[in-house]
Amino acid sequence: MASLYERIGGDAAVDAAVDIFYRKVLADDRISEFFDTVDMDAQLQKQKAFLTMAFGGPNSYSGKDMREAHKHMKLNDVHFDAVIENLAATLTELGVPDAEIGEIATIGMSVKDDVLNR
């Protein structure tokens, strides 16, 4: 069976999702402050890397990187859940089947402890 990343369309799926996802987090008052930056191009690339990871694609994220990148941001469950919600809403908008959305959400959830520094 093809991998999750291949099934949902690989880097083309990441390209399709990133603008929608970025717009959603910028519009979400719970988390917009973490994404609202002057250098939007750099922010977009970070989100592409995140989506590639969440879609089960090749990536070199380690738990340590995740911890390091987020530990000064004072994040809690509300922030984390908001990102997962926006991710799921993005995938629904793109017509990704529920089964794949579930798989992607599971991958997203797997980094929760690292992101929240627990």
Partner: protein, 318 residues
């Protein structure tokens, strides 16, 4: 077997390996992350040779045109020379024309053998090293000189020198071209929205005429923000393009006073009201840094793809 040259070292690319893997194996420190063409961390610049099309997927059309590619997706069919930075050339230029428009903008034309895209910028360098960035308003297919619009600041070191002491026939150095704010023929039907303040009009004037000259077919709309009619320049030229090309619309936005077709109000608000949905647009933003940064976010939230938003931020250097 093809080769890759980086920092004067030529390496053979083993069958099935990418340019990134080849360079990493040889001990070069190239930034990378996903190795899947998604994160763009390993973006490099082809100095010689052509990267394969797969290595340019997902890049902005302006990046493709300048030879940028993703090293992790790059399996070139021919020998290629690459760098991490765009190479900067410095060329000598001669002043061939200077005149003042609307009392506050010096239009400077230089003779210089420089390949460029209208809308890119260069550093103009005085012989003692004083240097300022200016965008290119000319179009190579239409003009054989480089044209710059220099805002004259009362205490601006470069602009005061340029207006008072720089003469026809004088030499100065031009470093560049730089920047990714220019037109590409990737989608001739795409509606173009250009928004500028001050001499942000210089690159936009180049981009508009370049697009028309290259046969662009979608609508082209220019919003120009200014305090009063007196602070607008290049008006005859813009009206002329408007009368000659029905696809071009010029919309001045003024805080005070009126000119033909103008709206009163805040530039960002007027654009938002006129064009609430920018899905499918290419957006070019040139001018005051803070306003253009806000307009980038506004344009993105209005539906323009990040890949289709091109920004040139102007910051006075004193």
């Amino acid at each position: 077997m093809s080769t890759v040259t980086f920092e004067n070292e030529t390496l053979e690319i083993i069958e099935g390996e990418s340019v990134l893997e080849t360079l990493l194996d040889a001990g070069h420190d190239i930034p990378y992350s996903c190795q899947a063409g998604a994160c763009h961390c390993c973006m490099m610049h082809a100095v010689k040779g052509t990267p394969n099309p797969e290595s340019q997927r997902g890049l902005k059309a302006t990046q493709v045109e300048q030879g940028y590619f993703l090293a992790c997706q790059c399996h070139p069919e021919e020998d290629i020379e690459v760098s991490l930075e765009t190479s900067r050339n410095t060329k000598s230029a001669i002043v061939v024309k200077k005149n003042v428009d609307a009392g506050s903008v010096l239009k400077l034309s230089l003779k210089c053998d420089l390949g460029y895209k209208p809308g890119q910028f260069v550093n103009l360098i005085r012989k003692d090293g004083l240097s300022r960035s200016y965008s290119i308003a000319s179009v190579p297919a239409l003009e054989d000189t480089l044209e710059f619009h220099i805002r004259i600041y009362p205490d601006g070191q470069f602009s005061q020198w340029a207006i008072n002491e720089l003469n026809i026939g004088d030499e100065l150095d031009v470093e560049g071209p730089l920047g990714e704010c220019f037109y590409t023929t990737s989608n001739p039907q795409q509606p173009l929205l250009l928004i500028g303040t001050g001499t942000g009009l210089a690159p936009l004037y180049g981009i508009i005429r370049d697009a028309i000259q290259q046969g662009h077919q979608g609508p082209i709309t220019l919003y120009l923000g200014a305090r009063t009619p007196e602070s607008l320049y290049l008006q005859d030229e813009l009206r002329k393009i408007e009368s000659e090309h029905s696809l071009f619309t010029y919309k001045p936005v003024l805080l005070d006073g009126n000119v033909e077709g103008s709206t009163n109000g805040d530039l960002n608000d007027v654009v938002k009201t006129d064009l609430p949905d920018l899905n499918g647009y290419a957006v070019y933003l040139c001018g005051a840094a803070e306003r253009m940064t806000n307009l980038r976010k506004q344009s993105f939230l209005s539906g323009a793809s990040m890949r289709d938003i091109f920004v040139d931020l102007f910051t006075p250097a004193g």
